[in-house]
């Protein structure tokens, strides 16, 4: 069963309007924060809640905020990361289109906590409806006096600026997002300095995911204790999982952390398409290792998925049935990373292309047996040696598919063709 905390009202076609959102309790948390809670206390509350980032890495949100230097005279910035581009992932979009006010309110609360007066909402350029609805929600919030100067008489000022990306996955990576927001190419930057210390315009900056922020109003209204009671010991709250691929009912499902993967795939998502046997699952977006069917009983929380050999990542559960050629899958993902590498550092810029070329050759039937080791070695030379995690992400599909499906690679190379040929056709109806 879903636990609808963030998505409670997304089914309501009018939830994106100010009136309906307010009916459903929007901006109560914001008013409470302005009236009753000091920034430092707010940070503590979020720390206590155990909220961890929903953007991929799962970093504790309150802790991240506390890295912003308190005595710095520089402006502080908040960036809401709505660049959502990780293959398989479309959970932020649900909130942007279905409950934009919750995201706006989350941004307000986070801004207040870190002392930011200009916040940026960075949305991937292709998300048109999301952008329109968020812009409208922000405009309405100004009209209501929830944004602007001296908000609700509190003396606190806040502006939110909507910034559309231009089509680049890398801009979801926080430092590249900042480069992009500064008007530069979306090139990742060396860390340190970390954005919390030196980010946008060289000022302290916090980057949080849409879903992370959307949790904040609930935490403020219902309390840290309540939030911490949801989920598992170390993974608190809910997450929205995007289930895609070979399932009968693909879709976004909000689940309490710790929910079973089996119940998600076979329950909520209705089981495997055409009732075929399951072949593999990618549990957290394209950058997370593949799981075999034997891991179907894994609980969906940060720790359990890690124990199963993968990562919770962006919560994108990609399901593949037996007809899926795994080399083909790896090739598709390799193409993606090659295409999206920002090109700044050597291993990723050169390595992602090389991996793709080899996979394409294998897939086309011209593989050599030594290619498998070459692939693994290239991956090893990329992993951990790049500026940003895109390089690490890029090698995950290669390494994990070779690890789990080496025989399929071997078959491919020996026979010059797929073991199972994925000829997925467009349905007629």
């Amino acid at each position: 069963m879903e636990t609808k905390l963030l998505t409670q009202h997304v089914g309501d076609p009018q939830q994106h309007t100010m009136e309906r959102a307010i009916e459903h309790g929007a901006y109560q948390a914001w008013q409470k924060v302005l009236k009753e809670i000091a920034p430092a206390d707010l940070i503590q509350i979020v720390k206590d809640s155990g909220l961890r980032g929903r953007g991929g890495a799962g970093f504790p949100t309150g802790l991240k905020w506390s890295f912003v230097p308190k005595d710095s005279l520089k402006s502080k910035y908040l960036c809401c990361n709505a660049d959502e581009s990780e293959p398989g992932t479309c959970k932020d979009r649900v909130l942007l289109e279905g409950d934009p006010h919750a995201v706006v309110e989350g941004m307000m609360i986070a801004s207040y906590a870190i002392g930011c007066h200009t916040a940026f909402f960075y949305i991937r350029g292709e998300y048109d409806i999301g952008q329109v609805r968020m812009s409208k929600a922000i405009a309405d919030a100004y009209a209501k006096g929830f944004l602007g100067k001296n908000i609700l008489g509190s003396g606190y000022d806040l502006d939110i600026v909507v910034h559309r990306g231009g089509g680049a996955y890398i801009c979801g990576e926080e430092t590249a997002l900042l480069s992009s927001l500064e008007g530069d190419k979306g090139l990742a930057r060396l860390k340190p300095p970390f954005p919390a210390v030196e980010g946008l315009y060289r000022c302290p900056t916090i980057i949080n995911n849409v879903e992370t922020l959307a949790n904040l109003p609930h935490i403020v209204v219902k309390g840290a204790q309540w939030f911490a009671s949801l989920g598992t010991e170390k993974s608190k709250g809910t997450r929205i999982f995007s289930v895609s691929g070979h399932v009968k009912n693909p879709g976004n499902y909000e689940l309490e952390l710790g929910y079973s993967l089996r119940d998600l795939v076979y329950g909520l998502a209705g089981g495997i398409l055409d009732d075929r046997p399951l072949k593999a699952i990618i549990p957290g977006g394209s950058s997370t290792p593949v799981l075999l069917p034997d891991k179907i009983d894994t609980k969906l929380d940060f720790e359990s998925v890690a124990a199963a050999g993968s990562m919770l990542g962006s919560g994108a559960v990609i399901v593949m049935h037996e007809e899926t050629c795994i080399v083909w899958v790896a090739e598709i993902l390799a193409h993606f990373y090659m295409h999206e590498s920002c090109g700044k550092c050597t291993p990723c810029r050169q390595g992602t292309g090389w991996i793709y070329e080899i996979l394409r050759r294998i897939e086309a039937g011209y593989g050599k047996m030594e290619d498998i080791d070459t692939l693994l070695d290239i991956a090893d030379n990329i992993e951990g040696n790049t500026i940003c995690p895109l390089g690490d992400a890029a090698v995950v599909p290669v390494i994990s598919t070779i690890k789990l499906f080496r025989d399929e690679y071997v078959y491919h190379i020996e026979h010059g063709k797929c073991k199972v040929h994925s000829q997925f056709k467009l349905r007629t109806k």
């Binding site: 398989g88 979009r93 910034h163 089509g167 693909p250 976004n252 990609i318 997925f424 467009l426 109806k429």
Partner: protein, 158 residues
């Protein structure tokens, strides 16, 4: 000047929202793209001029992203997601089907000037795969029938 006065105004207005004007390059490119459907060196120059930035800043940034093509496209730019969730549900076939149906090569413009088909990476519509983006809009859960109908609609709207 290629950009209209209203586009120019919009660009300079947008710039005011940012602490540093260089941040307005992306919004400016969007505004220009929406007005013209593609970008050109001349447009880069104009944006640089409006924002009082260097041409190189605009040109470099524009070249980095996928959404600011310099080549003219058909009236309907069809971007088919080629990534995993869509691929598992037949997006490669979808691309082939469209190319065949429209009798055009990837990236080219159909003879009637209406369509250009390109492949795109994941567009964040994975749970409603396969999908395609036509200009700004997403068309999801595509089937042969739906694609046929859409193309008909586009053709009749011209």
């Amino acid at each position: 000047m290629i950009l209209s006065d209203s586009a120019k105004l919009q660009i300079s207005q947008t710039a005011k929202r940012y602490p540093k004007v260089r941040s307005a390059i992306l919004p400016a490119l969007h505004i220009a793209y929406e007005e013209h459907g593609y970008l050109s060196d001349q447009i880069y120059e104009e944006i640089a001029q409006i924002l009082d930035l260097k041409l190189i800043e605009v040109a470099e940034a524009a070249s980095f992203y996928t959404m600011f093509p310099k080549a003219k496209r058909g009236k309907y730019l069809i971007q088919v997601c080629r990534n995993i969730s869509c691929a598992l549900l037949g997006s490669h076939h979808l691309t082939a089907y469209l190319l065949d149906k429209l009798n055009v090569e990837l990236g080219e413009i159909t003879a009637d000037g209406l369509f250009t088909v390109v492949e795109a990476e994941c567009l964040g519509s994975c749970t409603t795969a396969p999908m395609m983006q036509v200009n700004a809009h997403y068309y999801e859960n595509l089937t042969v029938e739906k694609v046929d109908r859409l193309i008909e609609e586009f053709r009749s709207q011209k």
